[in-house]
């Protein structure tokens, strides 16, 4: 082969090799870091047609509405537990730390954590968006029956001021 061709072949092979390595490493890393999303009813009844349920110890995300009156705080520490619901079953989430500013009862939230037993999740992170209009889309989708109307889309009431 001509040296020029040889060099080009070498360059192409290096690129292909690097890319393959990078993609393989990426997929491997991704596999470990993918967290499936569940709603409380999916967690209890199983997900999809096969009704697959997560195993205790599995990392996952769960999203639902915080049940009103279910937030229980430990008087001496920052431990807190609350219940999540979408259309039926209830799942309890435990967490230690500061809840986000917009965490409220009746509000949709997403928690990231580890499944302890069939209906308990130990959260490492609780997310509620900094926006009153926000409803996690996964939750909104799961709650098809209950329509969430963001305040800006609500029809202006006459007393909200016009003229």
């Amino acid at each position: 082969m001509q040296p020029r061709r040889q060099k080009r072949l070498l360059a192409v092979l290096t690129v292909v090799g690097l890319l393959t390595g990078a993609v393989a490493a990426m997929l491997y890393a991704m596999q470990q870091n993918i967290d499936l999303f569940y709603t409380p009813s999916q967690l209890v009844n199983g997900l999809g047609e096969k009704q697959t349920k997560p195993q205790p110890g599995q990392r996952l995300r769960i999203g639902g509405m915080v049940v009103t009156g279910s937030v229980k705080r430990d008087p001496d520490s920052l431990k807190v537990s609350f219940d999540l619901v979408d259309t039926g079953p209830i799942v309890t989430v435990t967490y230690e730390g500061i809840l986000p500013d917009l965490f409220r009862e009746g509000q949709g939230i997403v928690a990231q954590g580890v499944l302890l037993d069939a209906t308990t999740v130990a959260a490492t992170e609780v997310l509620a968006k900094h926006d009153e209009e926000y409803m996690p889309p996964e939750v909104a989708e799961a709650l098809k029956g209950i329509k969430h109307v963001p305040p800006s889309r609500q029809v202006n009431q006459p007393d909200s001021g016009s003229y």
Partner: protein
């Protein structure tokens, strides 16, 4: 009236953009000089009318004209005046107008500062920029009109600006970021214009370089400001979340960084041509991907605007047209371009090639990590999320070889480099970095093999190597003092930017390793000790701000019995939006930040507080600032302002 005038100005801008897209481009193919000469006034006119439209919108915000939907939803009469101005680009509609204004601004700058270009190329570049702006102004007019009124019924008070955006960082972050995003349109236009004409050489590269550098400068600054804003405003002390929208700005940055390095090869050696053109196309295409991701609502993020499928579809079609059209042109024309330069395996060319490979791999990782959940969901495989650990792990593996290469590359000659002469200086640099890294760790009384040590080693390697390389070049002029004024500004710029990268790496690694974070429950008078600092909650009281209430906490911090500082953290409740916001208290020093945010009120007259001690976190932003300064220095290089012989001929002919 003023609002309608703004609407009219935007319509005029649209008309001028259409003319700009048609006339000079047509003129360039039929060699019609008057049409080509029209490009410049059209570009100025377009910018003027975009500016008028923006000013009209700001006027509507300042006069609290709540009959304008955009104003009613994003402002209020109690909002401080500077936030009323920034609110004009806080919403989807307003930010799109800002985007259009920036694009028109870049177009006008190109019209003004590219006198050295041949007239035909000049006309084509402006024409292509006009074509892009046609798409965006039309989007602004049709899909997201910022001037839309809600007459006859309108509210007497606005819904206020999202409290998150009521921050100093928000005044600067969007304009700089957009300057960066849109700036890559200029490099894109240069690439397309050259593809049309088929002329690629070092002269072309020298024309594009300052524009690509300027766009990169703004994008770097914009991302840094965004990170700094998130750190201050989101209240949990993070500075990068791998949030889809952050990733959307990071992708063009990575491609842009690859572009400015590849341009160096094209300018100096006349090779890597097709590669450089592809990068110029990619950088702008990724900016458009970013715009699509933020504005279509396909991805969930802190930043995303309210979703609207119509807008998403428009942007997707626009994106496909731009990417498809440019790639088609690229495929047709690029065959003709041949790079002739020869170089060996161990040469500057190969080093920069390595840089590009790493940057593009990083870009690919971010791209896949951001979009994989989307594909996964669309394929019906369930909703998933790919979080920080994935990105952190991948960037950990990428940064190590990248930084090692970066320390080596500036020493390597073009074409061919002998290995032997480099062994001695690099052994010295390696020993010096080891000593420096261990020295820093010893001064922190924590010598151990961890991420922090790795970051310090890599940072020292890159930093010392960059400094030593400059000294070497200066000595080549005879003496250091004689060389200082002779070395190119762009060389200083490169060194400064590389040192900035070193500083950034050190900041990231040290913050990741040594941050101590504690969530504590405190009553007034309680003390808690975090990383040797003693935090005492002295007082909690009610706040009364212009458009918010809430509580404030006062803390005293001491270390080893000595007073360090006083911290003031707030938890604000914005009345109109009924939103709670955390205003964290930060005491910043180069070596560490003390960061306290006030959490919720707990039963028993107590408060939850998040207390963090974050060593070296300032270095992250300092690194970004140094990189931007490096780009600024490189821009100041004299050779970008020298007129080319081609232009002189044109002038002589005219």
């Amino acid at each position: 009236m003023i609002v309608e005038a703004g609407q009219l100005a935007l319509t005029f801008a649209f008309a001028l953009a259409v003319l700009l897209a048609i006339l000079p481009l047509y003129g360039s193919f039929v060699a019609n000089k008057p049409m080509l000469l029209l490009a410049k006034p059209l570009a100025f006119g377009q910018f003027f009318f975009c500016l008028l439209a923006m000013l009209a919108l700001i006027y509507a915000f300042r006069t609290n004209d709540f009959s304008v939907i955009n104003v009613a939803q994003n402002s209020s009469s109690t909002l401080p005046w500077y936030y009323q101005i920034t609110a004009s680009f806080g919403s989807h509609e307003g930010s799109m107008l800002l985007w259009v204004l920036m694009l028109a601004g870049w177009t006008a700058l190109v019209a003004q500062f590219s006198k050295a270009l041949p007239l035909q190329l000049h006309g084509r570049i402006l024409g292509i920029l006009g074509l892009i702006n046609v798409g965006f102004v039309a989007f602004s007019l049709i899909m997201s009109n910022p001037f839309e009124r809600s007459l006859p019924f309108f509210p007497v008070e606005g819904r206020d600006l999202n409290p998150l955006l009521q921050d100093f960082g928000m005044i600067l972050h969007p304009p700089t970021l957009y300057m960066g995003y849109v700036g890559f349109a200029v490099a894109f236009a240069f690439a397309i214009a050259a593809l049309m004409g088929g002329r690629f050489d070092s002269v072309w590269a020298r024309w594009v370089r300052p524009w690509a550098l300027a766009a990169w400068l703004f994008l770097t600054l914009g991302i840094m400001l965004g990170s700094w804003w998130a750190y201050n405003e989101l209240g949990w002390g993070g500075w990068w979340f791998w949030d889809p929208v952050e990733n959307a700005s990071f992708m063009p940055w990575l491609a842009g960084t690859a572009l400015i390095h590849s341009l160096a090869v094209t300018e100096k050696r006349g090779t890597f041509k097709s590669w450089t053109v592809l990068l110029a196309l990619a950088a702008f295409a990724l900016s458009l991907v970013g715009a699509f991701l933020v504005r279509s609502g396909v991805l969930v993020s802190v930043h995303s605007f309210a979703t609207d499928p119509g807008r998403g579809l428009y942007l997707l079609v626009f994106l496909l047209l731009v990417v498809g059209g440019s790639l088609l042109l690229y495929g047709i024309r690029m065959n003709a371009v041949r790079s002739q330069a020869r170089y060996q395996l161990f040469s500057r060319e190969m080093m920069l090639w390595g840089n590009n490979i790493f940057l593009l791999t990083a870009c690919l990782i971010v791209f896949l990590g951001t979009l994989f959940p989307l594909f996964h969901k669309e394929l019906g495989l369930g909703t998933i999320s790919i979080g920080e650990p994935f990105f952190n792990q991948m960037f950990y593996y990428l940064t190590i070889p990248f930084a090692l290469l970066l320390g080596l590359a500036p020493w390597v000659r073009w074409k061919q480099q002998q290995l032997l002469p480099l062994i001695k200086p690099f052994s010295l640099i390696a020993i010096a970095s080891l000593m420096l890294a261990l020295g820093v760790m010893a001064s922190m009384q924590s010598v151990q093999a961890n991420l922090g040590l790795l970051g310090l080693l890599l940072g020292a390697w890159v930093g010392i190597s960059a400094l030593a390389e400059v000294m070497l070049r200066l000595r080549q002029f005879g003496s250091v003092s004689a060389g200082i004024s002779k070395l190119n500004a762009s060389h200083y710029g490169m060194t400064l930017a590389h040192i900035g990268f070193a500083v950034l790496v050190v900041g990231v690694a040290m913050t990741k390793t040594y941050t101590v974070e504690r969530d504590v429950r405190m009553q007034e008078g309680d003390s808690t000790s975090v990383a040797g600092y003693e935090f005492t909650l002295t007082d909690v009281y009610d706040l009364n701000g212009p458009n918010y209430g809430g509580q404030a906490a006062e803390l005293d911090v001491s270390k080893d019995g000595g007073y360090v500082t006083h911290l003031h953290a707030e938890k604000r409740f914005y009345r109109i939006q009924r939103t709670i916001m955390t205003e964290s208290a930060v005491h910043a020093r180069l070596s560490r930040d003390l960061y306290v945010s006030l959490g919720e009120e707990l039963p028993g007259n107590a408060w939850a507080l998040r207390i963090q001690v974050k060593p070296f976190v300032r270095w992250i932003w300092l690194g970004g600032v140094l990189m931007s300064l490096g780009a600024l220095l490189a821009l100041a290089d004299k050779r970008y302002r020298r007129k080319s012989s081609v232009a002189k001929q044109e002038v002589a002919n005219a």
